[in-house]
């Protein structure tokens, strides 16, 4: 048995500790800098979104939801490609007639072509959903980022305001405002939904910004002479974007539902605008005798919302693989 238990028979002798050196160090190779380069220079460079794309494209859920979203957007943007029938031209003599040549979904209680109304109804849902989502992202991230990044009284005041709005139910508040408004356009519906729907995104942004701002790269940016505003916009927000984008995708679905709810209640878009919510409301009276006329606008709504929700799930998993492994 060797005298010194640190001795390694057959191996290189261990160095004697120098004065002031508190611990033994293992013999190390003294190769050049290349010896510590763990990553090869020719490895394909990737980005956060490059990685996310790689993870997403292998999932069938991504392709299904992407197909649904693309279809809905196409229908909303170019309804004329899908039908040549005007959804507002109705013939009472054809009321509640079943599917027939040229009218695959049949006719509703007013004698309007259900297929054409379902196609044209997509536009108002998508427009309101996208507008409201853009507005909440702008409003919510601004408020959340300022509260989380600047802290102190900014945070105290903005967080209390967020709490107050958070306590107001979205649809209830929208009902109150819409019911006293005469000119109900898509923009107004989106604005009212955004006005009461930004709180969740503000909370998410605040939390993410608070954790990102404690990273060393933020101190590094300060040391490089960046102003606080520059650091927030150029470094903190881009590094906080993943949860915001995920929530925005889910929120889009929720706003489409909220718009349909308001239109169903008769205080969303006016009856002159073709919308799924309005058609669901109109079909309600015939639900016992002709339930199938409810099926088409409700099916369009459900499919669209499902598409966006599934996309939100896929994007979340791709940006945060840890969430998927739970």
């Amino acid at each position: 048995m060797p005298e010194n238990r640190y001795e390694n028979p057959g191996g290189p002798a261990r160095p004697t500790p120098r004065p002031g050196q508190e611990h033994f160090t293992a013999p190390v190779d003294e190769g050049g800098l290349g010896a510590v380069d763990a990553v090869r220079a020719d490895d394909a460079p990737t980005s956060l979104w490059g990685d996310a794309w790689h993870a997403m494209r292998r999932r069938w859920l991504f392709w299904v939801s992407a197909a649904v979203i693309v279809l809905v957007i196409l229908v909303a943007a170019f309804p004329g490609l899908f039908t040549s029938i005007d959804p507002r031209v109705c013939d009472l003599s054809k009321a509640l007639q079943g599917p027939q040549a040229g009218h695959p979904f049949g006719f509703d209680r007013q004698g309007c072509d259900i297929y054409s109304r379902t196609v044209y109804g997509a536009r108002s849902s998508v427009v309101v959903g996208v507008l409201a989502t853009v507005m909440v992202v702008l409003l919510g991230t601004t408020i959340g980022a300022v509260a989380g990044y600047y802290g102190k009284w900014f945070d105290t005041i903005l967080s209390r305001i967020t709490d107050i709005f958070f306590a107001i139910p979205l649809v209830l508040a929208a009902i109150v405002i819409m019911s006293v408004t005469a000119d109900r356009t898509s923009f107004l519906v989106a604005f009212v939904l955004a006005l009461f729907g930004w709180t969740q995104i503000a909370r998410i942004t605040r939390g993410t910004v608070m954790s990102v701002k404690n990273n060393e790269f933020v101190t590094a940016a300060r040391s490089l002479g960046m102003s606080r505003g520059q650091i927030l916009v150029q470094h903190v927000l881009p590094n906080s974007s993943a949860p915001i984008i995920v929530y925005a995708t889910v929120a889009l679905g929720q706003f489409i539902v909220a718009e349909a709810t308001l239109s169903f209640l008769g205080i969303g878009l006016p009856p002159s605008v073709v919308s799924w919510g309005g058609d669901i409301s109109a079909a309600q009276g015939a639900i016992r005798t002709d339930p199938e006329i409810l099926l088409y606008p409700a099916g369009g709504l459900a499919l669209t919302v499902l598409g966006f929700m599934m996309m939100g799930d896929v994007v979340r998993d791709a940006l945060d693989p840890k969430a998927r492994k739970r």
Binding site: G20, A35, V39, S223
Partner: protein
């Protein structure tokens, strides 16, 4: 109060090559019974091309000293002079300009922006100085080449090893040719062999560029690379043993 008067810069007061000087600096955190004296009268002068290592245990005030020297923190009392600028009396915009124009920082956990590539990280200081795009690209390429990472320009920090990330950090700190380099435990997250190589590289660049460098560490291995060693204990700076020649 402790005054350190050794080293090439300190002979005969403010020599012509003194780039960084602090006098009687104190920094106190908190108030009343919770008061913590991180620095208790520290004076230091660093010359161009000099590598000063400040060693001391955790909590001895090393990071506070670097933050005060680099204008990231304001001392409770005392003066800090960086080049021609008196940081302690300058307005915030001037301190910001001093950080941008005069100081390069190297951090223990590298401080690289995760969403930017190595080249983009190195480019940040040049963008802040509004360097023209063509010159920027050339200087970034040159800086990455000097730290041996010419082939890794497009990789993100996550795709690089610890030693490589710290070399990107060093390239970023030196790309804009600052007069002062401050490094806070630059080898703290690296294994000893990589740490030694990073420190050798740092020493070489400091001497080549004539930068005044202050490096903190509590790794006795790295002290051997210093031109001058100082000990910081409980906020007091003392001359350390001169490293083995």
């Amino acid at each position: 109060m402790t005054t350190v008067t050794t080293g090439p810069a300190a002979h005969g007061g403010a020599g012509p090559t003194t780039v960084l000087r602090c006098t009687d600096v104190t920094r106190t955190f908190g108030r009343g019974t919770g008061e913590v004296h991180a620095l208790r009268g520290v004076s230091l002068a660093v010359a161009a091309g000099e590598l000063v290592v400040v060693r001391g245990p955790s909590g001895s005030g090393k990071t506070t000293l670097l933050n005060v020297l680099g204008g990231l923190d304001v001392p409770t009392s005392g003066r800090v002079r960086l080049g021609e600028r008196e940081l302690t009396t300058a307005d915030p915009d001037e301190v910001l300009a001093a950080r941008r124009d005069e100081v390069g920082y190297v951090f223990q956990s590298f401080g690289l922006v995760p969403v930017l590539s190595a080249a983009e990280n190195v480019e940040v200081p040049l963008r802040l100085r509004r360097t023209p795009a063509g010159e920027r690209a050339a200087r970034v390429a040159e800086a990455l080449d000097r730290v041996g990472l010419a082939g890794h320009a497009d990789q993100r920090p996550d795709e690089l090893s610890g030693g490589q990330q710290q070399r990107v950090g060093i390239a970023r700190a030196l790309v804009a040719r600052p007069r002062v380099l401050l490094a806070d435990e630059p080898t703290g997250q690296l294994d000893s062999a990589t740490g030694r190589r990073v420190m050798d590289l740092l020493r070489e660049l400091v001497h080549d560029d004539g930068v005044a460098a202050v490096v903190t560490t509590h790794d006795p291995e790295l002290v051997a690379r210093a031109d001058r060693v100082l000990d910081l204990h409980d906020g007091l700076l003392r001359d350390g043993a001169t490293p083995a020649a």
